[in-house]
C-alpha cells in the first residue's frame, strides 16, 4: 500500500502535487520569515568566543589566493582575502578620511615625490615575514619585475600606466625603492591609483618556477618572471591546497589561512609573527559562503553570523535586524554605475552615436524615485556622472549634481531632431539627414527608437528599476525590450572594444552589484573608459587628453583637472547613469572595531574585538 502522501500525489497528478508542494513550502517560508522571534535568537559571538564569522558577499567566493590579481580574478572576495595576508604597499582611506593614507594598514611610510614629480621614493616600515625574514625593497622589486613581464595579466593594467610609465625601479638600501617615472605625474593619482596596487611579495619564498624547484632570482629575466607568474598563478587557483601549501604560509599581514573548503568557506588565524601595530585580538576569523542572499539573511536573523549584510530586497527590515542584536553599518565603495551602450551594434550604433538620443536616454531615468520607492529610501545613492557621489570628494563638477530626469525634455529633444512620437509605441524618424533638426547620420526614415536592454538576472531590485526605466522611457517614445541573463553571460558579450563586442547586445546593465569600482578615492577615467570590460564608448581625443590631464596635473590643479573631465563626460553622456547601491552591513552589537574601509569595502579583522 502506498503511503498517504503518494496516494494523494497520484490522485492529483504530478504537476498539481508539485504546485501544491511548492506553494506550501512558500507559505511556510512566509510564516517562518514573518513570525521569527527575536527572543529565540542567539548571537554567534557569545557562543563562539573569539571566533568571528562574517558572511561572504553575494557576488561570489574567493577563487584565487595569489595577490598578483588577474582580470578574471579581480573580485572583492579575492582581494578581501588576499589583503589579510599580503597587504598592499599603501592602503588608502581611513574610517574618517577617504583620501588619506591609512598609516597602520600601510607597509611603507608616505611616498616622497621629487624632481618635479618624476621620481618617487618609498621607504618600507620594519616589517617581517612570517618565516622570520625582513620585508625588504627586494620584495617590492620582485612584484614590479613580475608585473613588467606579465602586465597584461594584471587586473589593474591600463595601457600607458604602471608599469609602462615607470622607467625604472631600484632598491636603495634594504628598505627604500626609488621609482623613476617617464614624466611628471600627479602625486595623488600616482599614490592612489598606482602605488596603492603594489603588493610586496616574499621573494625569498616565491621566486621559483615549480613547487620542487629552488628559490632563485628568476624574476630578473622576462622569461623567468613569466615562469614564476605562471607557477604562482597555477598554485593560487588550486583552492584545495590553500590550507597546506607552504607558499601561502609566508605572509606579512596579520592573518594566515588555516582552512578553505570547496564551497568557499575560509578560516584565518592570527599570524603570530605579525609586526604591524594592530595585532589580532580574536582567535579566528571565518568567512561563510551562502548560496543566496536570502539564505544569508536567514542566517543573520537566526544569529548565526557576527557580520552579515542586509539584501537590497530586505532594506525595509532594518528594524528587525537591529532587534536581532545587530547594528547597521553602511559600506560605500568609490564607484559609479551605468548602463552600457553598444556603439558597435549595426542596429542601434547609429542611434547611440547621437548625443541627443543619449541625453534622452538619461532624461528618462528617475533615480530619486527609484531609491525612494524600490530601495525604501536607502540602499543606494544617485549617480549622474563619472565622479562617485559618495564618499564626497572635491572632484565633482556642479553640473553632475543635478538630476537629468525630465520626460518632457526627452520628448522635446527627440521631436526637435525629427522624430514623431506616437501616443503609444516607439518614436519614428520622419526627418532623416544630418542637419541640426534631423535624426542624424545613419538613421533612415521610418527607423524606430527601439532598444533591447539586457540586465543581470536574479535581482528583484534591479528588475524593478529596469521596469520603471522602461515605463518612463515609453512616455518619451523610447521602447526598451527587457530581458535577463546571468552576469557571466552579459560580461561575455561585452568586451569593451568594437572588435570583440558581440553585435547582438544593444543596451546592457552589467551593473547589478558590479558597478565600476575605482578602488581608489581618485576616480580617474583611464581604467573606466580605456580598454576595460564594460564600456564600449569610442574614446575621442578630447576625452583622452582630459583623462591624461587628471593623471599629470600638479597637485594644485588636481580638482580643476578632475572637474574639467567630469564636465565633459556629463555634457557628452557616453553612457546612461543609474543608481549606485551600497551595502548595508549588520554587525553584532557584541563586536567592536569593525570598519568597512571606504575604498574597497574590505574589513581588517585585526581591528575586531569582542565586547
Amino acid at each position: 500500500m502506498k503511503p498517504m502522501f503518494c496516494r494523494w500525489k497520484s490522485w492529483l497528478g504530478p504537476s498539481a502535487a508539485t504546485a501544491i508542494t511548492v506553494s506550501l513550502v512558500a507559505a511556510m517560508s512566509v510564516a517562518d520569515a514573518t513570525g521569527a522571534s527575536a527572543a529565540t535568537r542567539k548571537h554567534a559571538t557569545a557562543s563562539k568566543g573569539a571566533v568571528v564569522t562574517m558572511a561572504e558577499g553575494a557576488q561570489g567566493t574567493p577563487n584565487n589566493i595569489m595577490p598578483f590579481v588577474s582580470g578574471a580574478n579581480n573580485s572583492q572576495a579575492n582581494t578581501n582575502l588576499q589583503e589579510q595576508m599580503w597587504p598592499t604597499l599603501y592602503t588608502i582611506g581611513t574610517a574618517r578620511n577617504v583620501n588619506a593614507i591609512n598609516g597602520p594598514l600601510s607597509l611603507a611610510e608616505p611616498p616622497v615625490y621629487s624632481n618635479g614629480d618624476t621620481q618617487v621614493s618609498v621607504t618600507l616600515k620594519p616589517y617581517k615575514w612570517s618565516d622570520g625574514t625582513s620585508l625588504t625593497a627586494r620584495d617590492v622589486t620582485f612584484f614590479m619585475n613580475i608585473l613588467k613581464a606579465n602586465k597584461t595579466s594584471w587586473a589593474h593594467y591600463t595601457p600607458g600606466d604602471m608599469p609602462t610609465n615607470v622607467v625604472s625601479w631600484t632598491a636603495k638600501g634594504a628598505n627604500t625603492v626609488v621609482f623613476k617615472l617617464n614624466r611628471a605625474y600627479n602625486p595623488t593619482w600616482f599614490t592612489d591609483d598606482e602605488l596603492a596596487y603594489i603588493v610586496p611579495m616574499p621573494q625569498q619564498a616565491w621566486d621559483k618556477e615549480s613547487a620542487a624547484g629552488a628559490v632563485g632570482t628568476y624574476d630578473l629575466t622576462t622569461a623567468g618572471a613569466k615562469a614564476v607568474y605562471n607557477f604562482l598563478n597555477t598554485q593560487g587557483e588550486n583552492t584545495a591546497t590553500y590550507g597546506s601549501n607552504p607558499l601561502w604560509q609566508v605572509v606579512d599581514g596579520a592573518w594566515k589561512i588555516k582552512q578553505y573548503t570547496s564551497n568557499g568557506f575560509v578560516a584565518l588565524v592570527p599570524n603570530t609573527a605579525y609586526s604591524g601595530p594592530d595585532k589580532p585580538k580574536i582567535a579566528k576569523f571565518e568567512e561563510e559562503p551562502f548560496t543566496s542572499s536570502t539564505a544569508e539573511f536567514n542566517a543573520l536573523l537566526g544569529g548565526n553570523l557576527d557580520i552579515g549584510y542586509v539584501p537590497l530586497n530586505d532594506l525595509a527590515e532594518k528594524a528587525r535586524v537591529q532587534g536581532a542584536g545587530y547594528r547597521p553599518v553602511r559600506s560605500e565603495l568609490v564607484a559609479v554605475n551605468m548602463l552600457s551602450l553598444n556603439y558597435s551594434s549595426p542596429v542601434v550604433g547609429p542611434l547611440v552615436e547621437q548625443l541627443y538620443i543619449r541625453k534622452a536616454l538619461n532624461d528618462v531615468m528617475d533615480q530619486p524615485a527609484q531609491i525612494s520607492a524600490i530601495l525604501h529610501g536607502s540602499g543606494g545613492y544617485v549617480d549622474y556622472g563619472p565622479i562617485p557621489t559618495v564618499p564626497k570628494t572635491p572632484y565633482m563638477a556642479a553640473i553632475q549634481k543635478k538630476s537629468p530626469f525630465d520626460i518632457a525634455a526627452a520628448r522635446k529633444l527627440l521631436i526637435s531632431h525629427g522624430w514623431k512620437i506616437p501616443s503609444n509605441g516607439a518614436a519614428e524618424c520622419v526627418r532623416p539627414g544630418t542637419g541640426p533638426s534631423e535624426c542624424g547620420a545613419g538613421i533612415a526614415k521610418g527607423k524606430t527608437l527601439t532598444f533591447s536592454l539586457v540586465y543581470v538576472s536574479g535581482s528583484g531590485y534591479l528588475t524593478a528599476t529596469m521596469e520603471n526605466y522602461k515605463s518612463d522611457a515609453s512616455e518619451a517614445g523610447i521602447v526598451l525590450n527587457l530581458s535577463q541573463q546571468p552576469f557571466n553571460s552579459i560580461v561575455g558579450d561585452i568586451c569593451g572594444t568594437p572588435t570583440c563586442d558581440s553585435p547582438g547586445w544593444q543596451i546592457a546593465n552589467w551593473g547589478a552589484g558590479f558597478s565600476w569600482n575605482f578602488g581608489s578615492p581618485y576616480p580617474v577615467g583611464a581604467t573606466m573608459f580605456e580598454g576595460h570590460v564594460g564600456l564600449d564608448y569610442p574614446v575621442p581625443k578630447k576625452l583622452e587628453s582630459l583623462i591624461t590631464a587628471t593623471e599629470t596635473a600638479p597637485v594644485s590643479k588636481t580638482a580643476t583637472a578632475m572637474k574639467a573631465y567630469d564636465s565633459w563626460v556629463i555634457k557628452n553622456d557616453p553612457e546612461v547613469w543609474q543608481i549606485e547601491t551600497y551595502t548595508l552591513n549588520a554587525v553584532s552589537n557584541k563586536l567592536k572595531g569593525v570598519t568597512f574601509y571606504p575604498v574597497t569595502g574590505n574589513v581588517f579583522p585585526q581591528d575586531f574585538a569582542v565586547k
Partner: protein
Amino acid sequence: MSQATALTPSDVSGAPRSATTPVRVRAARLLRVIGRWCRSHKLGFAGLVVIVLLTLFSFVGPLIYHTDQVHTHLTEVNLPPSAIHPLGTDNVGYDILGRLMEGGQSSLEVGFAAALLASCIGTLWGAISGYVGGWVDALMMRVVDSAFAIPPLLLLLLLGTIFTPSVPELIVVLGLVSWLITARLVRGDSLSLRTREYVQAAMSAGAKRPRVVVRHVIPNALGTIVVQSTFEVANAILLLASLSFLGLGPAPPAANWGAMLSNGLNYIYAGYWWQIYPAGLAIVITVLAFNMLAESVRDSFETRLARV
C-alpha cells in the same frame, strides 16, 4: 473486442445517431448527456467550472476591472489590500488583482497552445511510429527515449538563455519539450489499432498509409490524446510558472503568475503576503482544475471501454 473511438455524446448515452434528428432534440440530448456526465464526475465538473471561471477572470475581468499593467507607479508601491486595490500592489506599484488577470491570460494561452502543439507533434510521431513499425518504430521511439533522458527544465533553461522569451516562443519551446508522453501513448494505441479489421480493410481497399493514419488510427486514439492533452495544459502552465519564477519567462512588464510569485518571495521578510499568496493560489488552483478534469475524462473513457 470492439474498436476504441472518440467519446461522443451519443456514445455515452447509447442512443442511435440519426441524421434527421431535429437540432433542438439533439441539443436537449447533449445537455442531458453533459448533465449526466457532470453528476457522475463531480470532480471533473468542478474542474471544468474552475477553468471556465478562470478564463472569464483572465479575459473578461480586465474589461470590467481596468488597471494599468504597463506603466510603473512608484508612488503606490507595496500597498496592502484596500478598497482601491483589493489585492494590494507590488514593488513597482502594479495592481495585483489586475496583474493576476493579465498573468492568467498568458498562462492559459501558453498552456492551451503548448498543449495543442505538443499533442499534434506527439500524436503524429506516435501514430506513425506505431503504425509503420519495424526499424522506423525502433528509431522513432529511441528518439523519444533519448529526449526523455533530458530534464525538460534543464532544456528550457538552456533555451531560455539563447532566446528572448516571448509568449509565441514559449509556446513553441514548451510544446517541443512536452510531446513525448503523448507520442508514447499514441504509439501504444497505434500498435493495437493497426491490426484491427477496419484498418486492414482500408489497406486492402488501396488506402495509402498517410490516409490510414489520419483517418483511422488517429481518430480512434482520440480518447488517449484528449486526456493527455488536458494534462499537458496543466504541465505547460506549471513549466511556464517555473521558468518565470527563475526569471526566464516573458520579460516585464508582461504579467505572469510565476514571475509574480518569484517577485513576491523577494519581499518575504517584509511580510507582503499579498504579493505571494494570490499568484501561488492561482497556479495551484489552475493546475489542480486541469488535472481534475483530465482524470474525469480519463475515467469516462475507461468506463466506456470497460462497457464495450
